[in-house]
Symmetry: C2
Subunit: 221 residues, 2 copies
């Protein structure tokens, strides 16, 4: 089913990401810079807290007609009338979320391997989040980084719209977009910026350059 959503610059945000600011304030400035879709992610909040924050975000996004995606919590997404849900590999099955949220909901799932990609049902799922492209921690999950080659391989394997995530920033957004994904998802590259609007604008330009096939590189000093 064709739905109106744009993965170009996908902001993932939650209370732990915003360095003392509010999620609403950072989202509002990021949207002014060109974010095309927002996912609210908070693994520790209660459903009630998450719903309250989601409602405040919906007020920020409504004037811009941008969709809000809720991470993991299907019931929260339904309760607040969010546009969709994003489900991690260990979250509820997409088919269950579809049954709860109905045919109009945007349903995204994560896939970082061929095995996970092959489990995605294109009759149920609207987009796939792929990563982590780059490692952002020195601990266990660093080994899970798929790199540009892994990303390009998943891109070839999956026909669904795809958004790449994991350590992507201004230095890498162009190369990531050049793999043919529909967009990039970022947390720190926007939430960690003193000026999220400028950060979003720069990132969106970089994605645009990547799509145009321009290649940038920065190797050893």
């Amino acid at each position: 089913m064709a739905k109106a959503f744009d993965l170009t610059l996908y902001l993932v945000i939650g209370p732990d990401d915003v360095r003392g600011r509010t999620v609403e304030a950072v989202t509002a400035t990021a949207v002014a810079g060109g974010v095309t879709l927002v996912q609210l992610r908070d693994k520790t909040a209660s459903d009630a807290e998450m719903a309250a924050l989601a409602r405040r975000l919906l007020e920020v996004l409504a004037p811009h007609a941008l969709p809000l995606i809720v991470n993991d919590r299907v019931e929260v997404a339904r309760a607040v009338g969010a546009a969709g849900i994003h489900l991690g590999v260990d979250d509820r099955p997409a088919a269950e979320a579809r049954a709860v949220l109905g045919p109009e909901a945007i349903i995204g799932v994560s896939a970082g391997t061929f095995e996970e990609a092959d489990l995605v049902d294109p009759a149920v799922v609207d987009y796939v989040g792929t990563g982590a492209v780059y490692a952002t921690a020195t601990k266990a999950d660093a080994g899970a980084a798929i790199g540009l080659e892994g990303l390009a391989a998943l891109r070839r394997r999956l026909a669904l719209p795809m958004v790449a995530i994991g350590g992507i920033g201004l230095s890498t957004a162009e190369a990531v977009a050049a793999t043919g994904v529909e967009g990039i998802a970022v947390v720190s590259a926007i939430c960690g910026a003193a000026d999220p609007e400028a950060a979003a604008r720069d990132l969106r330009e970089a994605v645009k350059r990547g799509r145009q096939g321009a290649r940038g590189g920065e190797g050893a000093a």
Copy 2:
């Protein structure tokens, strides 16, 4: 020999990186944001062009007492009185540069593998540039990315001050700094920003957090 230089936020810049602005203008704003060292890199300019640009950059940096490092061109570094030189793996040997530039010059070399690291002579070289940490192009050199694990391994192998380069940005600077390197080198993360001052400030904060051992992560959406 102990020399006064600070690798914390190392800007690599050249005429191809600044998106229609001047190298001097971008450098000046980046320095206002907290860049600690600047390397002029231009693989295609003539020596005369490079020297002219280096002299203009020295004027920008002098009031801040920040060192200018020239990439590759030993004679240019000497002619303009730059603080030092950075030599890639295929550039002139460090010992030759030392003979030309003298004991006070800052000499940096690139090393992306154990083999290259083992060739570095700590009696001649002042710092090592390591990378590429992350791939920034989908073509051949993507396979050369060493990742955080490769970086940490090189950090353990080398006692010299070390600056990491390659696709590092706001999303990854903290994790890179947490590996124990003295600093990060960036091109696009500053040169590609509409506001290089804000970008530099955010990156410097991220390096500081990484040094403090705080770990940030952003996994699959």
